[in-house]
C-alpha cells in the first residue's frame, strides 16, 4: 500500500510538471492549449479524488463500518429505489474507504467509478421502469414515499428490519466463529454482513432491481474478501468490470420488467403491496 506521503509527493511532482507543461502550451494554438488545460484540470481532480478517498480511509474503523452497515440495512429494509440507490452510493464510498487500506488508491478509484456508474445506470433504468408502471396505473416510487400505505408498510418494514437484525447478528457471530483466513477482522465482518444482507434481500424481494441490489451487495462482500487476500491491480480492475457488467444486466432486466407485459400480468394491488 502506498503511504499518504508518497501520494502527496506524486501529486506535487505532477503539479510541477503541470506548470512546466502549461508554459510550453502557451506556444501552441488556443484550442490546443484549452484542451491541454482541461486535461490537466481533470487529472488534478482525479488526484484530489484519490486524496479524498485516502482521507476517508483515515477515519476510525467504527464510522466506516457504521456507514457500510446502515447503508446495507437501508437497502434491505426499504424496497424503494429512491432510497436504496443513494444508500448504494454511500455503500460504495464506504467500501472504497475500506479497501484503500490494502490496495492502491488508483484502483479503488476505478472501483468507486464502476460503482457510481452502476448506480447511475440503475437509476436511469428504475426511472424508465417507474414511468412505464405509472402509465399502467401503479403508483410510482416517489408517490409511495410521499404517501405510504399505512395499512401495510409498518408491518412489512418491521418484518424486514427484524429479519435484517437477525441476519446481521448471525453474520457477526459467523465472523467470530468462522473468520476468513488471512483477512483482517474488520474485513471479515464487513464481508459477512454484506453477504448475508445481500442474500436476505434476494430472498425477500420480488422486483428485479432489489434482487440486483442484493447481488451487488454480495459482489461487494466478495470484493472485500478477495482484495484483502490478493491486493493486486488486475484483481481490482477485474472486479470493477464485473460490477459494471452485473449493473448493466440488472438495469436491462429492470427496464424489461417495467414493460407492459410484466405489469399487466400482475394485479396492481399485488404489485404495490410487494413494493411497499
Amino acid at each position: 500500500m502506498r503511504s499518504l506521503g508518497d501520494r502527496s509527493d506524486t501529486s506535487d511532482t505532477c503539479a510541477a510538471s503541470n506548470t512546466s507543461d502549461s508554459s510550453n502550451s502557451q506556444t501552441t494554438t488556443p484550442a490546443a492549449s484549452a484542451a491541454v488545460n482541461a486535461l490537466l484540470q481533470s487529472s488534478l481532480s482525479v488526484f484530489e479524488l484519490i486524496r479524498l478517498i485516502e482521507r476517508l480511509s483515515q477515519f476510525a474503523v467504527v464510522p466506516l463500518l457504521a456507514v457500510l452497515v446502515i447503508s446495507a440495512l437501508a437497502i434491505t429494509v426499504v424496497h424503494n429505489w429512491r432510497v436504496a440507490l443513494p444508500a448504494m452510493v454511500a455503500h460504495y464510498v464506504a467500501v472504497a474507504a475500506l479497501l484503500v487500506r490494502v490496495i492502491d488508491p488508483t484502483v479503488v478509484l476505478i472501483q468507486l467509478l464502476a460503482g457510481g456508474l452502476t448506480c447511475i445506470a440503475l437509476g436511469l433504468a428504475a426511472l424508465g421502469a417507474d414511468n412505464a408502471q405509472r402509465a399502467a396505473g401503479a403508483p410510482s416510487a416517489a408517490q409511495r414515499l410521499a404517501q405510504p400505505n399505512w395499512t401495510q408498510v409498518p408491518a412489512q418494514l418491521t418484518l424486514r428490519a427484524l429479519a435484517a437484525l437477525l441476519t446481521g447478528t448471525a453474520a457477526i457471530g459467523a465472523s467470530i466463529r468462522f473468520p476468513l483466513p488471512s483477512v483482517p477482522p474488520l474485513f471479515t465482518l464487513s464481508a459477512y454482513v454484506l453477504f448475508s444482507l445481500g442474500v436476505l434481500i434476494i430472498a425477500t424481494s420480488f422486483e428485479v432491481l432489489n434482487i440486483g441490489l442484493g447481488v451487488l451487495l454480495m459482489l461487494s462482500a466478495f470484493e472485500i474478501a478477495f482484495i484483502s487476500l490478493e491486493p493486486s491491480v488486475s484483481v481490482g480492475i477485474l472486479l470493477g468490470t464485473i460490477t459494471l457488467l452485473v449493473g448493466t444486466a440488472v438495469s436491462f432486466l429492470t427496464l424489461a420488467e417495467g414493460g407492459k407485459e410484466s405489469v399487466s400480468s400482475m394485479p396492481a394491488a399485488e404489485l404495490s403491496e410487494s413494493r411497499a
Partner: protein
Amino acid sequence: MTSLTLSAAPLLVVLPLAAGALTFLVRRWSWAEGAIAAVACALVASLLAAPTAATVHLGVITLSLDAPFVVLGRTLQIDASNRLALAGLFSGAVFLFALSSALPRQGDFFYPLALGMLGTLAAGLVVRPLLFAALAIEVAAALGALLIQANRLGARSTQGAARYLVSGTLAMPTFFLAFWLADRAPTLEGEAATLPVVLLVLGSGLLFGAIPLYSWLHAAAQESPPMVVAAIGAIALGFSQAWLLRLWSVLDWLRASALAQEVLLVGAQAIWVGVALIAWAQRSWSRVLACVLFLEVANALWSVATSGATPLAATVFGIAARSLMLSALGLGLSYLRPVRRADGTIGYACSSLLLVLTSVMALAGLPGTVGFVERWLLVRAIESSVEPIGLMALAGVSLFAGALRNALPLLRCAENAEQAQHDAHIMRLAVAAALVLLIGLGLWPSLLSLGAAAP
C-alpha cells in the same frame, strides 16, 4: 524462415469474443451471423481435437496447445485433462449456431451474447489459479441473464434471468472459499476435506440449476425463445460438466471424497425420479423443455460421478450430443408456431412436429438416436446396480410421454400448414439436416470422432 510459437489457450477466449463482435456487425443477415459463429467454434474445436498432441502448424506460426500464456499475472493453459471437454463444448456450439442460423432473427444480441458467454466460460476452464474461474463464472452469469431476456419478453423470463444471475453470484463465493481453503492446507484428507467438498458441490449444484427451490431452468424455459433456452442449456450445462470434470481430475482430495461422489449420484437419481413423476403430465412445450433440461442435468451429474468408470471420450461425446439434441429441439419448437391457412383454420407444420418428437426421443435416450449412444455409455459405467438404469429409462419414457401428449392435438391440424410458412424451403432443409444428424450420429457415433485427441 523462423517459425513463431504461440500458445493456443488465448485463442479459446479471443476467437469467440471476436466472432461475437463480428456477428453484431452483420446482424442484418441471420445466416451470416450463424455461419460466422459456427465457423469460429469449428476452428477452435478442430484445434482442440487435433490428433497430434502438442502442436499445430499454421504456416510460419506454430500453435502450442499446452504452452502457458500469462495475462495480467494469471496463466491461461489448456490442460490435457480438460482439452477433450473443451473440444466437446465447442463442437456442441457448432451444432447450436449452425442450426440456429436457419431461423429468422433471434434478436440483435443472441449471437454476441452466446459467443461472449462461451468465450468467458472457456476462459474459466483454462485459467490458473482455479480461484479466478469464479470471476469468469460471474461474468458469464451476467451475459446469460442478458441473453435470456434479450428480447424483452414476459415476467417469467425476467425472473428466470434474475435467478440465473443470482445462481452464478451465489456459486462464486462457494468456489472462492473452497479453493482458498484448499490452497491454505498442504494436504486435505478426511475431515479437513469435508468443508471444501461441500462448498464445491453446492456451487456446482447452483451452476447446474440442480438446486430445486430457486432454479432458473423452469422460469427461463417458460417464456424465452426455445433457441435461447437451448443455447443456455448447451453452453451452461456443458461448461458445468466440463468444470466439474476439471475439478475432478485436478483436485485429488475431491476425487478421493466419498461424500462428493455420493451427493452427485443421489442428486442425479433424485432428479430422475422427479422427472419421471412430473414430465408425462406437462401441458406445455416450455414445461417439457424444462423437464428436458432437468433430465440432462441429472445425466451430467451421473456422468461426472462415474467419470472413473466412463472413458473420457464418452463423457465428451455426451457434452457435444446434448448440445445437438437441445439445438434440434429448440429449432423444432421455434418452427412450431401456429400458421393461419387459406381456409382460416390454424395449422402446424408436419416437419417441425417430426423434428420436435425425434429430438425428444433422442433426449429421452430411445434407440436409433444420438441420445441412445450417450445413455448407453452412461449405463456401461453402472456395473452392479440396476435401479439407476431403471430410473434413467423411466425418466426418459415419462419425458417422451409428455412430448407425445402435447404433440397429439397438433397432429390433427397439421395438413398443408407447411406450405403456408413463407420460409418453408429453409425450414425443410434445416429440419432434414437436424434429423440426419440426430439419427446419423446415433447409428454411426464414430463420425463425431472427438476421441482422436485423447492424450
